[in-house]
């Protein structure tokens, strides 16, 4: 018998059918991967399951009984728990406080029973093999540990069905392996695990079965053991997908970007960036790997020109740009794909055309002596929409209407249209669906083959390893390793990445 059955689920948003007669049923103890591109309907389906909104048609059954959810509370009450991609935790509170928040054990119904809470949390952790320190402050934990706290939250509320949304996006290889051990243990104890992911190798590694959604319908339900990443990709996209890249052997040229002895301090504690030096040559992709929060963001800000370092210098093409403005650096051939497209890469209220044109308003074809030609702008935009296959009904549409992958294509399209020789790509495929990922990766490699220097900053080690010619790891503000990609080992890189988190490292070595 199925633990969870979703039958004939239909959900429409206006004219768009997000889920069209979806059947999704999972047995006890099963780890089911749910895969599909952005817009395929996986999030919608899980939101229906989690009670965020009701389905238009179809029913949900738990252990054979029909259930109707009027909100997430109902879902949680019925044993459904969700671990979101972006954690919802309080850095200033302890692990225990975070786990029991909202359902605290109390003295006389009024006062928080801290001891009981810590006890319960510790027992919970032990029974499921989740290693945590109940009294630790959230802010001091590494990403993998934070995720464990999120999982504990669901277990504390009696979850039998756990939905994990892109859980491995920001984990190091070791943390990911730890997570898989935990998931298998939970499944062995009878829990249902639903694992939403884009990372096909991981889907292959952890899941028993996989459901593939495409444009709102189920295109396949497979036994993972009998399938392969290319099978899954084909079911997701409808055609063969290039998962690995061929490219010309590296023929690096002159130094394009050179960073020397960069120092960035903050009051009293250790510097954010501590004597950073490296360079990127023409025709080379240098991948900067690292767990988020080790100085990458500040480093990129300094390279781009949004911030000044306390010491050190930066040269582009041999010329010192340490004191130069963003505009000047761009004029010297720098392009920038920001880490957060909504924060810095786009204006969601402006039209797609305007978003594609910003940066080109003072040059032909769009600009001429301070004036802009609206029709030239439209042509420019339509041209880019074509080349980059941006799915939008018209260039006049507000950018906010586009999906994540399409928006990222807008950013990439714009930045790659500059006559640049240095590309700073910061998390270029974050939150982006698989065909857009493939597209963007192809374009990056194209530029590298054409002789551009690319600095790729990413928390996704798979991306770094598949694209880079050379790999650097940043940890606690220092570059801790600089290796050729073909000589790099994933485990080793993972260890370098967690170099600053001694607790995790000790455990891994045991």
């Amino acid at each position: 018998m199925f633990e969870l059955e979703m039958r004939g689920i239909v959900k429409r948003f206006g004219n768009l059918t997000a889920n069209a007669d979806v059947n999704f049923s999972v047995k006890k103890g099963e780890i089911r991967a749910l895969v599909g591109e952005n817009g395929a309907g996986k999030t919608t389906l899980m939101r229906i399951l989690f009670g965020l909104y009701p389905q238009d048609d179809g029913e949900i059954r738990l252990r054979g009984q029909v259930v109707k959810f009027h909100g997430p509370r109902d879902a949680i009450f019925n044993g459904i728990g969700m671990v979101h991609q972006h954690f919802m935790l309080f850095d200033d509170l302890t692990v225990t406080e975070n786990v029991v928040f909202g359902k605290e054990p109390r003295h006389w119904g009024l006062f928080f029973d801290k001891r009981k809470a810590e006890q319960e949390v510790e027992e919970l952790g032990n029974s499921f093999g989740l290693r945590i320190d109940p009294a630790a402050l959230l802010g001091s934990l590494a990403v993998g540990e934070r995720q464990r706290v999120e999982i504990l939250k669901t277990l504390y509320r009696g979850a039998n069905i756990l939905i994990l949304d892109e859980p491995t996006a920001v984990l190091t290889p070791q943390e990911r392996d730890d997570l898989f051990v935990i998931l298998r243990r939970l499944a062995d104890q009878g829990k249902v695990i639903i694992f939403i992911s884009h990372k096909l190798p991981e889907v292959m590694a952890i899941s028993h079965t996989a459901t593939v959604l495409r444009h709102g319908i189920v295109t396949g339900n497979v036994n993972t053991a009998e399938s392969s990443p290319s099978d899954l990709a084909r079911l997701m996209v409808g055609r063969e997908v290039l998962l690995n890249f061929e490219r010309r052997p590296q023929d690096p040229g002159e130094e394009v970007l050179s960073i020397r002895n960069l120092l960035l301090t903050q009051s009293s504690s250790r510097p954010i960036l501590n004597d950073i030096s490296f360079m990127v040559r023409a025709g080379e992709i240098v991948g900067l790997a690292g767990v988020a929060g080790n100085g990458q963001t500040d480093l990129v800000d300094i390279i781009v020109g949004l911030r000044k370092a306390d010491q050190g210098n930066i040269t582009i093409g041999g010329q010192d740009v340490t004191k130069k403005s963003i505009l000047q650096r761009r004029q010297m051939g720098m392009s920038y794909i920001p880490e957060d497209r909504y924060q810095r890469g786009l204006a969601v209220e402006a039209s797609v055309a305007e978003n594609l044109a910003l940066g080109f308003q003072r040059k032909p074809p769009i600009g001429k002596r301070g004036l802009i030609r609206p029709r030239a702008m439209q042509r420019w935009a339509n041209n880019l929409i074509n080349i980059y296959d941006i799915r939008v009904s018209s260039a006049r549409e507000a950018a906010g209407n586009l999906s994540g992958g399409n928006l990222q294509k807008v950013v990439v399209a714009r930045e790659f249209s500059h006559d640049s020789r240095l590309i700073i790509a910061d998390q270029p495929t974050r939150g982006v669906d698989i065909s857009a990922i493939e597209f963007i990766h192809k374009r990056i490699i194209e530029r590298r083959d054409a002789g551009d220097a690319v600095l790729l900053v990413s928390a996704d080690l798979d991306e770094i390893m598949s694209l880079s010619d050379r790999i650097l790891v940043i940890s606690e503000g220092r570059i801790v390793t600089d290796v050729l990609a073909k000589e790099a080992d994933e485990r080793e890189l993972g260890l370098f990445m967690t170099g600053g988190h001694h607790a995790t490292m000790k455990e891994n070595l045991q």
Binding site: T17, R344, A347, A350, E397, G400
Partner: protein, 370 residues
């Protein structure tokens, strides 16, 4: 229930279809929604305002009819509506220009005051031929307003003092400064009011309609609106300004200089405000009267027009004229029917509340799909 049906599994068009139907839906439907919600807001405002008028003991239908008659009933009314509308529109464009760049300039009142004062000082102090003098006085008003506004901008770029705070407070400074100058340096001798002597006949802007206060300032405002529209749509600076206001970090990452944009925009905004001051002094009052430029609240009405028009110049003209009509009509209403002028404040306030609040519902839609 549906589990047993044999469904045709072809879904409706995926969100990425480029069919003509969807193209029509996107911009047109937005327009239709905008206008319908605007009309509903207006209608509700009139309804609520009417009920309040009823509660205060007057006849709402009579009141509304009197307002409309006062504002548009005869040529005097229309001229008055337009006359009052000019500074409102001008101040609205000044405010809207800064708002569009994301800069909250609340100092238009002080800027227009200083603009008027500067123009007056130049007019009475500099001996030049009339045409030259006219250009110089307009210039003086724009420079005074622009510099005063830019000062606020500078305080933000240099010292992180929010423009919203400094511009607002500098209004008081400006009011004090101008009052001082009127009372202690340019006071009209022999009179009993806090005002300056009038400017000479030849320096005044010609009246367009005899018997009214409508001056050639009309042409200046028309020119201003056209210039604003042109700058926003057809120049690189206007484009950068718009994007700077839409997402400052984005614009800065593409190379827009935030310090320069802030200072230039604040100057421009203050410059427009200064010109409004000029129009009031040289087209309406012909002198500086302590409190006359700030009393009618042109700057604030203008700001409200900018807000409900979402900083769009055309919308500011429409909104500005609308508010002007309500105000003009209400004074007429008070004169002819005795219904207090304050009704107009109530009606305007309700309109602004309802019109502004409907925008809160159509917020940003960020797709966060997995």
């Amino acid at each position: 229930m549906t589990a047993d049906h044999e469904h045709d599994n072809t879904p409706s068009d995926p969100p990425t279809s480029t069919s003509a139907k969807r193209w029509l839906q996107s911009p047109l439907r937005k327009w239709r929604e905008e206008i319908t919600s605007l009309l509903i807001a207006l209608f509700s405002s009139f309804l609520i305002g009417g009920m309040l008028i009823l509660l205060s003991g007057d006849n709402p239908l009579l009141a509304y009819a009197a307002i409309v008659k006062g504002a548009f009933g005869d040529s005097f009314g229309i001229a008055s509506t337009i006359t009052r509308g000019l500074p409102i529109i001008g101040a609205g464009i000044a405010t809207g220009w800064a708002f569009k760049a994301g800069l909250i300039n609340l100092g238009v009142e002080g800027q227009l005051l200083l603009g008027g004062m500067a123009a007056y000082i130049v007019a009475v102090s500099v001996p030049l031929s009339p045409i030259l003098l006219l250009s110089l006085t307009i210039l003086a008003s724009m420079v005074a307003g622009g510099l005063w506004s830019m000062l606020s901008g500078w305080l933000e770029t240099q010292f992180d003092v929010p423009i919203l705070v400094s511009s607002l407070l500098m209004n008081f400074l400006a009011i004090g400064l101008v009052s001082y100058m009127i009372n202690f340096h340019f006071l009209e001798v022999g009179g009993s009011r806090s005002q300056t002597p009038m400017i000479a006949d030849i320096q005044r802007l010609p009246r367009l309609v005899p018997g009214t206060s409508l001056s050639a300032g009309l042409y200046l405002i028309i020119g201003l609106v056209i210039a604003a529209m042109f700058m926003l749509r057809r120049t690189a600076h206007g484009f950068e300004l718009t994007m700077f206001g839409a997402n400052r970090e984005f614009a800065v990452s593409t190379g827009v200089n935030p310090v320069r944009m802030t200072l230039v925009t604040m100057f421009s905004s203050g410059m427009i405000a200064g010109m409004v001051g000029f129009i009031l002094v040289f087209g309406v009052h012909y002198r500086m009267i302590d409190g006359a430029l700030t009393g009618p609240g042109y700057a604030w009405t203008g700001m409200m027009a900018a807000i409900i028009a979402n900083n769009n110049p055309v919308g500011i003209v429409v909104g500005g004229l609308f508010f002007s009509a309500v105000q003009t009509g209400s004074s007429a209403m008070e004169r002819t029917h005795g219904i207090p002028f304050e009704i107009s404040f109530v009606v305007q306030a309700i309109i602004i509340l309802l019109v502004a609040s409907r925008k809160g519902f159509s917020g940003l839609k960020r797709k966060d799909t997995t």
